[in-house]
Subunit: 247 residues, 2 copies
């Protein structure tokens, strides 16, 4: 059974400040919860699950410390869920731990300049994960990685893709021996570019694109050729197309 | 000034049934509103705009019938807006009119099987529009084209991409002389496939994929090769990558 202080605590985690103080984030639904419970670099702090979910995951349930599991009914789940349609199980997890710092040499990374839509950020992480990219650098203006919407749309990739929030100009200055690919509307044709093994791919804000100082640091300016009439592509779709072609 | 009956009417348009009875939809924000006002196949019924927007669009304002324009302040805009952050202007438009019926021969179309997330549907339309695809076929289970979220995420492409809701098995049966490309997790490598000039590209539901009866009708089964660990790609990102490669 759920007690009032638990409801209050979970609701408080909608605030970035409290998530940071606690070092935790919330995830929901069987698919993501199962992935996160299986991840070696993320620890579970509290699990709130329906009888139905627990019945369907008996081995998993048995492997968990009983003190961190609370059985909830669907009404109780509604009270703590951040989803429009609550989905069987909610977990509070410690933020993922990664062994080595983010680097730029000898790998491909994605640098996001002010991606503000949380759904886009999560989808970009999932997409990076699909193409084997293990690092994403976010400008400080990007949406918070551990907000409910980012976690949900990343579909578990949050445990595999390391994200560094930093000042992007300084990051590029420090890594000025690595090629920098800027995704723009007026660059050269993406499809004329060969595959790469090393480089930082910059993707810009949903409406303003990449800030001028970062465009200036691009060693290659790439464009996805337009054949129709839309003014632009969604940032996550554009990232997917670029990664699909360059990796 | 806004009157109570207007607020009630606009709010009622959050319901699909009422939008259908009226033959209208709501769009918001300067970018989309400007695109829709410029579209030759969509008529404006009512416009609710702040002084600021009207001042910045004097020629456009002068071209509109004064009877359909209501000046609102930011508090009033909040009362009628479907957005978390209301954005200067809201319009009620007649649904777009298209000259010719949807066809499958001699063109590329996208068939969506049960795309339920409205953000995904809108993003797919925008993406189709970018790649010059002018037709999208939706199974009846897809999200409603004229819901606020689909309209907003399509970013104006709703005026250029013709959408037909129909029973997809029957549609494919009727058009059985056209190649059918099914996007699957276990097909052949997308990158080994040449560009196409004609065909129906099927994209499936966010969690269940394409229904078996439609997979059976696929003449080509295509997969975006996975290099990392994500279980799947977002449906809109996958559509973007496939269109980018095949068109």
């Amino acid at each position: 059974m759920l007690v009032k202080s638990q409801v209050k605590y979970i609701q408080s985690l909608s605030q970035k400040k409290l998530r940071e103080e606690e070092g935790v984030f919330v995830a929901e639904g069987p698919k993501i919860i199962n992935e996160l419970l299986a991840a070696s670099n993320i620890d579970i702090r509290q699990l709130y699950a329906t009888e139905y979910w627990l019945g369907a995951h008996q081995a998993l349930h048995a492997s968990l410390d009983p003190a961190i599991v609370t059985i909830v009914d669907s009404k109780e789940l509604e009270r703590i869920s951040f989803l429009t349609t609550p989905n069987e199980v909610l977990g509070i997890f410690n933020k993922p731990a990664f062994n080595s710092p983010v680097k730029a040499k000898d790998c491909i990374s994605v640098l996001l300049d002010t991606i503000q839509d949380p759904g886009n950020l999560g989808t970009i992480l999932r997409c990076a994960d699909w193409f084997g990219i293990t690092q994403v650098i976010c400008s400080e203006e990007c949406s918070d990685l551990f907000s409910a919407k980012v976690v949900q749309s990343s579909m578990g990739s949050i445990s595999r893709v390391q994200v560094l929030y930093t000042e992007p100009d300084a990051f590029l200055k420090k890594n000025n021996d690595v090629p920098v690919y800027a995704a723009l509307l007026d660059g050269t044709n993406l499809y004329d570019h060969p595959k790469i093994k090393e480089g930082i791919i910059i993707v810009g804000n949903e409406s303003k694109g990449i800030r001028p100082s970062l465009i200036g640091k691009g060693t290659h300016k790439l464009t996805i050729p337009r054949k129709g009439n839309a003014e632009s592509l969604n940032a996550a779709v554009a990232t997917g197309i670029i990664l699909s072609h360059l990796t």
